[in-house]
Every structure is written in C-alpha cells, then in structure tokens.
C-alpha cells in the first residue's frame, strides 16, 4: 500500500528519454481530444433542448478534465474509467428512471412540446370545394397539364395562405411531363392565360396515366402544393393549423382553437377532447397513487408482488435444499468418482441459461413436448403447463431449481470443506449418524457464512427477468388488468411489459414500479453488506 509521489505533492521529473516524453504528450493529446468531443456532445444536446443528457456529458467531461490534469488526483486516474462506466450506464439510467416516474412519459407523450406543435403545424388538409379542373394536352410523347379553378373558393383559400391575392391566378399550366414515369415528382406550375396547344388526352389515356398523375406534387409560384383529388381535378393542400402568439393553435378548417394543457401534456379542443400526440409533463406522484389506488392496477400489482416474493423465496429454499444434500453426499470420504459426479452435477450451470430455458420451453410443450409424452404414457395425463396458472408457476420453479442448484452446491461444498474434520470424528465416537451430522454440525456451521450469499441469490431471483421472458413471457394473463399483467410475471418482467410490450408504452408507470423495486433492492443489498461485513 503506497501513496503516489504525485499525490504527496512531489515534483515530476522531466524524462530524459525522448520516447517517453512523446508518449506523455500523446496521452495528454488523447485526454484533450476526449474532453473536446464530450464538450461537443454537451453543446449538441443543449441545442436539442435535452438538458438531462447535456448535464450528464458536462459532468463526465469536466470530471475527466479535472482528474487527468490535477496531479494530486493521480490515483483517481486509475479508477476513473470504471467509475465513468458505472456513472453513465448504471447511476445515470437509475436517476433518469426515477425522474421519468414523476412524468407521464409514454408513447403518446414522447416528443417535446415544440416537436408536437411542429407536427401539428405540418398537418395539411385538402380544402373542400377549392378544386381545380385539369386537362392534359399532348406534346409529342409528353403532356402538359392545364388547371383552371372550378370556382373562387380555391383562389380565395390559396390567396389567404399566400397572403397575397395578386400572386394567385385562376389558371395554371405545367411544363411537359412524362406520364410513363409513376415516381413521386415535384412539378412547378406557371400562371397561364390560355389553354396550351396540342390535343387533350382522352379519358381512356387519363385512366392509364392515373398512377403517374396521382404521384405528382404540383407547386404554384406562391409555394402551395396541389395534389390529384379525382380523375378531373387537383386541389390545394392547405396547412390545417395556424399558430397563435399565446401558444394555442387555430384549426383553419372550422376556426376552432386548440389550447395546450400543461397539466396533462396534450392539445385540447374546445369540446375538451385530447389530441395525440402529446408531450411529457411532470405529473407529481400520479403514477405512484395509480399503483396503490387504481383497482385495475393495484390488484395485478399486488398479485405479482406476492408471487415475486414467493418465487424468489421458494427458489432459494429448493436450490439450497438440493444443493446442500448433494454437497454433503459429495463430501463423503467413502464415495468414489466424486470428480465425475461434480462435473455432471454442475452441467446445468455451465450451459448458457438462454439455451437451457428454451430447451425446457420445448420439453414442456403441451402437445409435442417430451414431458407430456412421458406423463401421457405412464399416467395418462397431459397437464397444460402454459395455460394453467398454478401449473405454469410449478413449471417455473422446477426449471429454476434445475438452473440454480449447482450454484448452491458449489457454495455448500466450499463451506463444508472448511469445517474441521475433528467434529465429525467426535460425533462418530458419540454414535452420531450421517443425519445427526448434517443437522447438528454441518448446517449450523455453514448457515452463517451462507446467509449473505442467500440474500444475494434472493435478490437475483427476485429480478430473474431472463427466465420469465424466455419461458412463459408472463402468461397466462391476469383477467381484468388494464396493464399487461400475467400470473407468472415477476415485478421486473411486469415493468418490462408495461414499458415495451403494451400498446400504450406507459414509461412513466413502468418507471414508478422500477423505482419501488430499486428501493427494495437497496434494502436487500444494505442488509447483505451488513451481514457479510465486507472489508474494504
């Protein structure tokens, strides 16, 4: 254990070796480049208005600059990269999740208010009755379009949009267009006085050129777009909404007003109807109160909550029981072939979980799975493992015991080895059998060092997302739940489904449940640290 010269404040010697000096400068340049690129990210995020991310990279860049320029922090340079990884990919997401839990962030409330307003302002509509009749005139192999306003409605609407009545004509004509090409094209129109020369296309030819015509985007000199609305007409596309100085929008179709509601994060019509998309706003404790008061959420939530505890508790109990019994058997001096048994017994641990879980998914298949074939032949029963809640839960416990007992076996074997042999000798002298040894000597002696590891295993199974996601996906579903909730869901898979599989993608609610789980995990890990008395 030592203190670096730098942190003692001793001066740094200037290396006599040229190569070393160069490599020092290279290291400094690398740090500078990293800091500059991080600052560029900060600026970019700031300009996009994403202050959370800007703040994250500002903290990252600033701490990088400080740690790698102050010589008194020489030791911290070694731990900085790992801490940065932890900070960006564990701590920041955690804080961000807690932040989301106080908002209504969801697939309906995803974009910022400005982007939502932008989307509304981009919406267009085809003015009713404001149509142009059109005719196509042949010009060699190509054709020119000639448009004439059906009545004054189209002209008026366009004049209002262009803000200039003089710039809007009654008649327009296009340059010759190739009607064979059906790709989307923009074509500029010019005001015209008379019909173009050439003969008009017959109806039959117009129908043949229909695809090409409907892909055309005609544009007047004032910048208004016209699209085909019928075989004989084009109509202008007008912006549907106009922005007012107070932030509200006016619906130009019927002159009603949309007011932004900053409580709910939606634009609201005069009739009080919400229009999607909205933007995320802070909703305070709404998500939390929903979990505990909304009966459609509270019921499934409590059911899943209880099942999560039962699942984790039973898993730990079963795996420990199997692992402990096997470990005591394998520790028996008289037994031969221990190495082979050991290797075979830890096989479930060595096979990647995502493969063995899927193997069980196939084996438990209700119609063709091997397990039901065997049960059918022996007892004439064929349980529905995936549709009956109780059976699905049993299946999960069976599979998880298979997956988890080798870990307990390894733990118990390690701990049993540290028990002094004399104790068993003394027990044998006093006439104690193997069961007495197990209950009176082995178990009490390994329980104490095992407890923190059991808590860790509990916490791990509490959050055993992979098992649920790959084996049952949470099904069979709980009836009458307003969120996607299954009878085999754990809290983690429940939050995952709310956030990523539900049609509504209610990130806010998912984050609130995640925050509750965070609190539970903190409690468990603090308990664990206290029990294991980690020495640093």
């Amino acid at each position: 254990m030592y203190t670096t010269n730098a942190s003692r404040g001793l001066p740094r010697h200037r290396s006599r070796h040229l190569g070393e000096r160069y490599s020092r400068w290279a290291a400094r340049a690398l740090v500078a480049a990293l800091v500059i690129s991080l600052m560029w990210l900060v600026l970019a995020f700031h300009l996009n208005g994403q202050w959370m991310f800007a703040l994250l990279f500002l903290v990252l860049g600033a701490s990088l600059a400080v740690v790698f320029t102050r010589r008194s922090l020489m030791s911290h340079r070694y731990i900085y990269p790992a801490l940065a990884g932890l900070g960006v990919f564990v701590i920041f997401p955690l804080l961000y999740t807690i932040g989301i839990s106080f908002s209504n962030y969801s697939s309906d409330n995803l974009l910022s208010e400005d982007r939502v307003r932008g989307q509304f302002l981009e919406q267009t509509y085809q003015a009713e009755g404001a149509a142009f009749d059109f005719t196509a005139y042949r010009q060699g192999s190509q054709a020119r379009l000639y448009l004439e306003a059906r009545d004054d409605g189209a002209r008026d609407a366009m004049a209002e949009e262009a803000g200039d009545a003089a710039g809007v004509a009654r008649r327009y004509a296009s340059a010759p267009i190739d009607l064979e090409d059906a790709g989307e094209r923009r074509v500029r129109l010019q005001p015209a006085e008379a019909t173009p020369s050439g003969e008009p296309l017959a109806m039959r030819e117009m129908i043949a050129a229909r695809d090409a015509l409907s892909a055309l985007r005609l544009e007047t000199p004032a910048g208004i777009e016209l699209r085909m609305t019928g075989l004989r007409s084009f109509a202008p596309l007008l912006p549907r909404y106009a922005e007012n100085p107070d932030g509200s929008l006016t619906d130009l179709r019927d002159d009603t007003t949309l007011t932004p509601d900053h409580e709910t994060g939606f634009f609201v019509t005069e009739a009080g109807e919400r229009l999607t998309p909205g933007w995320p706003v802070a909703v305070g404790l709404d998500n939390y109160t929903r979990i505990f008061t909304d009966p459609d959420i509270r019921g499934p939530f409590l059911q899943i909550f209880v099942w999560t505890f039962v699942f984790a508790g039973l898993t730990v109990t079963f795996t420990l029981a199997v692992g402990f019994v096997l470990a005591t058997l394998l520790q028996w001096d008289q037994l031969r072939g221990k190495a082979i048994y050991r290797t075979l017994l830890i096989l479930p641990y060595a096979v990647p979980a995502f493969i063995s879980i899927l193997i069980f998914k196939g084996m438990f298949n209700q119609n063709h799975g091997e397990i039901n074939l065997i049960l059918e032949n022996l007892f004439g029963i064929s349980p529905s493992w995936f549709t009956d809640p109780a059976l699905a839960r049993t299946m999960l416990l069976i599979v998880n015991t298979w997956l988890g007992y080798p870990y307990m076996l390894l733990l118990c074997m390690g701990l049993i080895q540290s028990i002094p042999r004399d104790l068993f000798e003394a027990s044998a002298v006093d006439g104690g059998g193997p069961l007495t040894n197990m209950w009176r000597i082995t178990l009490p002696l390994i329980m104490k060092p095992l407890t923190p590891l059991l808590i860790a295993a509990f916490a791990f199974n509490f959050n055993n997302f992979v098992l649920i996601a790959l084996l049952t996906g949470g099904s069979p579903d709980i009836l009458g739940a307003s969120t996607p909730a299954g009878t085999t869901d754990l809290l983690v898979s429940y939050t995952y489904r709310i956030a990523f599989q539900d049609a509504g993608q209610n990130f806010g609610l998912a984050a609130a449940i995640a925050t509750l789980i965070f609190l539970l995990v903190v409690g468990l890990s603090l308990l664990n640290l206290r029990l294991s008395k980690v020495k640093v």
């Binding site: 254990m1 203190t3 670096t4 942190s7 991310f53 030791s75 911290h76 070694y78 731990i79 790992a82 801490l83 990884g85 932890l86 990919f89 564990v90 997401p93 961000y96 999740t97 989301i100 001096d333 037994l335 048994y341 290797t343 075979l344 017994l345 830890i346 096989l347 479930p348 641990y349 060595a350 096979v351 979980a353 995502f354 493969i355 899927l358 193997i359 196939g362 084996m363 298949n365 063709h368 390894l410 390690g414 000798e425 044998a428 590891l453 860790a456 916490a459 959050n463 992979v466 996601a469 983690v492 956030a499 990523f500 995640a514 995990v521 903190v522 890990s525 603090l526 980690v534 640093v536």
Partner: protein, 296 residues
Amino acid sequence: MAMVQPRSIRTRRLGAHLALLSFVSLVVFPLLLVISISFREGNFATGSLIPERFSLEHWALAFGIPWERADGSVVQPPFPVMLWLWNSVKVAVVSSLMILALSTTSAYAFARMRFTGKAPILKGMLIFQMFPAVLSLVALYALFDRLGQLVPWLGINTHGALIVASLGAVALHIWTIKGYFESIDGSLEEAAMVDGASTWQAFRHILLPLSVPILVVVFILAFIMSIMEYPMASVLLLDEDKLTLAVGAQQYLAEHNQRWGDFAAAAVLSGLPITAAFLLCQRWIVGGLTAGGVKG
C-alpha cells in the same frame, strides 16, 4: 480417513451411488435429449434417445446450408444462426477486452494505493451492481436513442451501443482482480519504483505479467456474461441480422411455429463451446463467484 466407521458402510455407499446416479440422469436428461433431437428427422419427431431415423438436416440448416430432403424439396435455413453467433462473439470479445482494461486499472488502484474516498467508492460499486439493468432499460433506450442521433455508431440497433452499455458492470471483476493483486507481494513493485519506475510502469511491467492467470479468468467470465446477456440486447437490437444469439435463439420457439429440431441443432452448436469454456475454467470461476456474486 475416519478412524471410526459404522458397520453398515457398504449398503450406505451403494445407496449414495444410486441416489446420485438417478439424480444425475434426471439432470442430464434434457441435455442428452436435445442432442438426440438435433439428429432426428422432422421438427417434432418423437422417439428414443438414440434416434431411429438419423438425419443431418437440422445441423446443415444450423450451419446455414440449404438441405435437400429425400423427396427433392429444398429447405432453406430459417434463421442466420452463424451470423448471430458471430455477432455474439464479436460483441463479447470487444466488451470483455474493454471491461478487462477498466477493471484491471481500477483494481490496481484499489489494491495498492491510498486515496480519498476509497472505501465508500468500493462499497458503493457493490451496491449499484445489484440493480438489474432490466429496470433502467427505458432510460438506457432513451440515452442511446438520443446519442445515436449525434454519433450514429452508438445508436439503437448498433453493436456499439451494446458493447458500451456493458461497461457499467465492472464492480464484480474489480473485486476479483483486486483480491488477486492483494495476494501478490508488493515488494517487487516497490523495488522497481526505488529504481526510478513510475507507478504506471510498475503496474504495466511488474504486476500485469504476474497476474496473467486472473486476467484470463476475468476475460472468460466477462465473455460468458456478455454472450448470455439478454434484456439489454432485446431492447437495443432490432434487425434480424444484428441480433445476438441470446435474443435470436428464442425465435425458434415462437408462439405458433415451434421449430424444435432446428432449435436443438442450433442450441448444441452454440452452447457447446460456451459450456466447454465454463467447465475448463470452473475452478477459478467458482472462486470468483463465491466471493460475492451470482451468475447473471
């Protein structure tokens, strides 16, 4: 050898062997079954453990080779398994190397240096490590979504994002390496530093060559963890040709079209190397696990 032995030892030994053998056969049955199924004809063929109608169809498909059946019809491989395996290996190698670099340097500082905030940082790392990444997936998705608009190779649906995201999980490895460093006597490094080596040089040229075994173990551990990582990859990767094996493999057993036979071949093909690596290194891996972590 115990001095005092009960009389009934022979029957008891026999009983123990019987119990162990029956348990082992129960445990190994699914694994043998999958190997057997991978050689059976058809996708839901039943039969004994030794296939009666032997066929290499599933294996050919797993390797991406179209298979011509006896009746002349040609079956195309359903999924790009080899591509998924390659994606998994690529992501795992790069992320394990980066994890190794980060955790080795940190472990060195924690094992050898005295600095402010050392104890709380170490404990804090252990606590934060217990938070499952599944819970902050929304935040991670948002982070990479925004980051991808500025830095394309770090966006959603890139392997870069998956690799970088794994750098948060280093606490366990730091503890493992730190324990090993502490078991090496520091006098060699001190001698080097007396002779004018800098701290970095003592670390790079004295300690690192001495700790190659633990570095290999941590690399393999990180590799296996990365291969098996499911939640993050399931959210960050979208296109079929970008998927890792852990995410792709479940498509074989989709709700309505279960390709049991094809899955078996793919599972054996991809699971065997990982299982073998684990069994070879089990001694060190077990040591690291009992030190405080659970397999993820």
